[in-house]
C-alpha cells in the first residue's frame, strides 16, 4: 500500500484529527487570556480544514477497500465542517457562561469527534468501518446532549438519546449480521453483486434502514427527537438537526445506491411510506408546539422527509439535489437556531412562541434574519429553500413518484402555516413583555451573516449547484 495516498484520500480525516489534538493541547496549555479566543481559534482551524478538504481529488480506496474516497465525499465533508464551524461560532455565548466555561475544550472535542465519526461513515467501504463511524458519531453526541448535566432536561435528553441510539445500533448490527450471513462479505463492493433480495436480506434492509432512520429522525423512528432537541443545549440541538442529519441522509443515499442496488424496488417502497409519514406526521405535530426548540424538532423531521424525496429515485440528479438540499437547509436552519440561541442567552432562557411576540419591535434585525431563515425553510422564493425544494421535487418526479410529490407539496402549505405562526408572533402580535433590545455578540453576528448570505445567494447563484452536480453519481 502506498502510504502517501493516506494524505490525499484521507485528507479530511487526518486534518480533522490534527485539529482535535491541537484543540486538546490548547485547552490544556492555554492561559486565561488565550482561552478567551478559543472560539476564534477553533472556528479558524475548521474553516481552513473545510477549504483544504473541499478540493476534490481523484477517487480511490485505502486499506484494501475499507475506506473509499469519491470527489463527492470531499464536498459533503467540507460542507459538514462548515456546519460545525457555524455551530461553534453560535455556541460561543453559551460557552462563556460560568457553568460551562471550564468545559469549552470538551465541547469542541466531543463535537469534532462526532464529526470524525460522520467522515468515516461517509467514507466507509466496509460495514465494520461504517459501524465504527456510526458509533463514533453517536456516543459523543449523547455527551453533548447531556452537556448541561445539572439541568434536568438536558440530562434526561442525554439518557433518552443514548438509549435510543444504542437500540438502533443494535438493530442495525443485527441487520448487518443477516447481510453477512447471506452474502459472506462485509465489503460494500462485493455485497452489491451478491445480494439477491431473499427474505432474510429484506429483513436486513429493514433493520439497517431503521438504524439510519433513527439518525435522520424519520417517522416512525423519531420519538426521541422532540425531547432531545428540547433538552439539549441549543447549540447542540442545531448541530443535531443539521450536521448529524445531513451526514446520515447522505450515507443512507450512498449505501442504498451502492449496496442495496439490486433491491431497489423494496427500498423504494419503504422510503415511499416513510417519507409520507415523516412529512405529514411531523407537520401535524409541529402545529401544536409552543416551545420553539420542540417546534424546530418537528420541522426538522419534516425537512428530513423532503430530503428523502431526493433519495428515493436513487439517481445522480437525486444526489445533487440531496447535497444541495442539505446545504441550503443547513444555512436556513442554522440562521433560525442562531437567533433562537442568542435570544435564549440574552433573555434568560425564553424559547416559547409567545415570548417572540413583538420581537420585531425590539430587535428588528434579528427578526428579519429569522424571517429569511423561516421563509427559506418553507420554500419561498427568492430564498434558497425554494430552489432546493424544487430540485428534490423534480428529482422524485423524474423517477415517477407523482403521488409522493403531490403529497409533499400539499404538506408545504401546512408547513408554511406553522412557519408563518412565528412570523406572525414576531411582526403582528403585540406583547406586554417583549424580549428586550440587546446586542448580539461578534461570533453570532458572523455566523448569522454567513447563514444569511447562504439563504440569499445559494439559490440565485447556480454555481454551487453546478459544482455539486459535476461530482454526483447514482444508480
Amino acid at each position: 500500500m502506498d502510504y502517501t495516498s493516506i494524505f490525499t484520500l484521507m485528507r479530511a480525516e487526518v486534518t480533522l484529527t490534527a485539529i482535535l489534538v491541537l484543540l486538546f493541547l490548547y485547552d490544556l496549555l492555554a492561559g486565561e487570556r488565550a482561552r478567551r479566543h478559543f472560539t476564534a481559534v477553533a472556528s479558524l482551524l475548521l474553516a481552513l480544514q473545510a477549504v483544504a478538504t473541499a478540493f476534490p481529488a481523484a477517487s480511490g480506496e485505502l486499506f484494501g477497500g475499507m475506506f473509499h474516497y469519491e470527489p463527492m465525499h470531499a464536498v459533503v465533508k467540507s460542507l459538514l465542517t462548515v456546519g460545525a464551524m457555524i455551530v461553534c461560532l453560535q455556541a460561543d455565548g453559551w460557552l462563556r457562561d460560568a457553568e460551562t466555561r471550564h468545559k469549552q475544550g470538551e465541547f469542541y472535542i466531543l463535537t469534532l469527534s462526532t464529526l470524525l465519526g460522520m467522515y468515516f461513515m461517509i467514507g466507509a467501504g466496509h460495514f465494520l468501518m461504517f459501524f465504527i463511524g456510526l458509533e463514533l458519531a453517536s456516543v459523543p453526541m449523547a455527551c453533548l446532549v447531556a452537556f448541561d448535566k445539572y439541568r434536568n432536561y438536558s440530562a434526561e435528553a442525554g439518557a433518552k438519546y443514548i438509549l435510543c441510539a444504542l437500540f438502533s445500533s443494535g438493530l442495525m448490527l443485527y441487520g448487518i449480521s443477516f447481510l453477512y450471513g447471506t452474502t459472506g462479505t462485509l465489503y460494500f463492493d462485493d455485497m452489491a453483486s451478491r445480494i439477491d433480495g431473499s427474505p432474510l436480506e429484506i429483513m436486513a434492509l429493514v433493520f439497517f434502514f431503521a438504524g439510519l432512520g433513527f439518525k435522520i429522525s424519520l417517522v416512525p423512528f423519531h420519538l426521541w427527537t422532540a425531547d432531545a432537541y428540547q433538552g439539549a443545549p441549543t447549540a447542540v440541538t442545531s448541530y443535531l438537526s443539521v450536521v448529524s442529519k445531513g451526514a446520515a441522509a447522505f450515507v443512507l443515499f450512498t449505501t442504498l445506491v451502492k449496496v442495496f442496488a439490486p433491491m431497489v424496488e423494496e427500498w423504494q417502497t419503504v422510503l415511499w411510506i416513510v417519507t409520507v409519514l415523516s412529512i405529514t406526521v411531523a407537520n401535524l405535530f409541529a402545529l401544536r408546539q409552543h416551545d420553539l426548540k420542540r417546534f424546530m424538532a418537528f420541522s426538522s423531521i419534516s425537512q428530513a422527509g423532503y430530503i428523502m424525496l431526493a433519495v428515493i429515485g436513487g439517481s445522480s440528479v437525486g444526489m445533487t439535489s440531496l447535497v444541495f438540499y442539505v446545504l441550503v437547509y443547513m444555512a436556513a436552519n442554522l440562521a433560525v437556531f442562531g437567533v433562537l440561541s442568542t435570544v435564549e442567552q440574552h433573555s434568560g432562557g425564553r424559547v416559547c412562541l409567545e415570548d417572540y411576540n413583538g420581537f420585531y419591535r425590539t430587535n428588528p434585525r434579528l427578526a428579519v434574519l429569522m424571517t429569511l431563515g423561516l421563509f427559506s425553510l418553507a420554500g419561498i422564493p427568492p430564498f434558497a429553500g425554494f430552489f432546493s425544494k424544487f430540485f428534490v421535487f423534480a428529482a422524485a418526479f423524474r423517477s415517477g413518484f407523482y403521488v409522493l410529490v403531490f403529497i409533499a407539496l400539499l404538506n408545504t402549505v401546512i408547513s408554511l402555516y406553522y412557519y408563518l405562526l412565528i412570523v406572525k408572533a414576531m411582526y403582528i402580535t403585540p406583547s406586554e413583555t417583549p424580549i428586550a433590545t440587546f446586542r448580539t455578540d461578534r461570533y453570532t453576528r458572523i455566523s448569522l451573516a454567513l447563514c444569511t448570505a447562504g439563504v440569499l445567494l445559494l439559490g440565485l447563484v447556480s454555481a454551487v449547484y453546478d459544482g455539486i452536480n459535476a461530482l454526483a453519481y447514482g444508480l
Binding site: F387, L410, Y417, V423
Partner: protein
Amino acid sequence: MLSLFPLLPLVMMLGLWLARSPRQVRAVMATGSSLLLVLAVVLVVRYLGLREAGETAPMLFTDSVVWYAPLNIHYAVGVDGISVAMLLLSAIIVFTGTFASWRMEHDVKAYFLWFCLLSVGVFGFFVSVDLFTMFMFYEVALIPMYLLIGVWGSGRKEYAAMKLTLMLMGGSALLLIGILGIYFGAGATTMNVQEIAALHNIPLSLQRIWFPLVFIGFGVLGALFPFHTWSPDGHASAPTAVSMLHAGVLMKLGGYGCFRVAMYLLPDAAQELSWIFILLTTVSVVYGAFAACVQTDLKYINAYSSVSHCGLVLFAILMMNTTASTGAILQMLSHGLMTALFFALIGMIYGRTHTRDIRQLSGLMKVMPFLAVGYVIAGLANLGLPGLSGFVAEMTIFNGAFQNPDTFHRVVTVIACTSIVITAVYILRVVGKILYGTCDNPEHLKLSDATWDERLSVICLIVAVAGLGLAPLWVSDMIHGSVSELIAHILS
C-alpha cells in the same frame, strides 16, 4: 431591456434600505415608480414600433441566460402584446399605489420594502417566458402579502392574511406539480413556454391530469369559484395600496397564467375539459355580483365585484375564440384600472371617516366632491357605461362568447350577461347611499377633500380608465395579434 422591470424595484429596495427618513423613503418611491411608468410607456412605444415595422416573431425583446443547466432552467424573458399590456397596467398601478399611500405613517420604510418585493414578483412574472422563472416570480409576488396585510391591514387582518397566503400557496402547490408534469411530459428538454408549445407532444392522458391542476392553481389567484374565498377577506383587510396592487394586478396573474400556461401548453385537455371550468366561472360571475349586492362594507362590495369581474376574464378565455379572449385581456386591463381606482378612493374615504360601513356614510358629495366624483366615475366604469373601459371589455367578451354556435356556450353566456344588470344594482345602491342625500353625521361635515398626492393618483387612474374606454382600438390592436396566435395554437 425587459430585465429592467424586475430589476428596478430591486434597486428601489436597496434605496429604501439606505433611506434614513420617511421623506427619503417617499423620494425613492416617487422616483422609482415614475421611472417604471416611463419604462412601461417606452416599452409600449417600441413594441408598437417594431410591430409597425413588420416584426412577426411571437415574442419580442427576447433574452435567455442558462441558469440551472441540468434541469434546462433558463432566465428567459420576452414579451408579446398581452404581456406588454399587463406591464403597462402594473406600472400604472404601482405608480398610483405609491401616491395613494403617500401619507402612510406606521413603519413606512418596511411597508414600501415589501411593496417593492411584491412589484418585483409581478413584473418578473409578466416578462418571463420560462416556466421555472415564471413560477418563482409568481411566488415572490404572493408572500409579501402576508406581512403587508398582517402588519399594516385593518379589521380581521391576521385571519385574512393567513387565509389568503395559505389558499394562494395551496394553489401554487398544485401549480408546481402541474409545471413539473408539463416539463417532464414534454420530454424534459426545455422549460421555455414557447418551445414547449412548439413541441406540442404532451400525451392527452397526461394533459387530462395536469390541466385541471394548473388551471386551478392559477385560478385560485384569479378568484375562480369555489376558491375565491380568500379574496373578500384579503382585500377588505389590506391597506389601500396593497388592495390596489392585489386586485388590480395580482389577480391578473391568475388569468394570464391560465391563458399562457394552462391553456396554451395543454391545449387538448383544455378543449376537452373547458366545460367544467366554464360552469365554475359562470357561477363566479353571477354569484360574485349577487354577493356584492348584500354587503355593507365598501371593500367587501368591491372585492365581490372583483370576483365577478375576474370570473369574467376566465370565462372569456375559456370561450376559446379570438374575440372573447381579446375581450378577456381588455377586461383584465379595465378591471385592473377601475378596481384600483375604487380601492384608492375607498382607502381615502376610510382615512377620513374611519368607517367603510355604507350604513354610516351619507351625503359625501357635498363634503368631498373630488373623491365623490371619482367614485361615481369608477362606479360607472364598473357597470359598463359606454365611453369608459368596462363597456368595451364586456361588450367584446359577450360578443365573442356568443359566437360559439352550440347551445351550452350560448346559455352560459346569457346567464353571465345578467351580471351586468346586477352590477348596476349594487353600484347604484352604494353611490346613491353614500354620496347623495344629506350628510347625517355632523363629524363628517368637517372633513376635507383630497390632497395633491391623492388627486394625482385618482386623476391618473381616471385618465387611464377613460382612455381605454374612448380609444380602445390601439390596445386591442396591440393584443389582437398575440391573442389570435395563442388561440390558433390552442385550437390546432
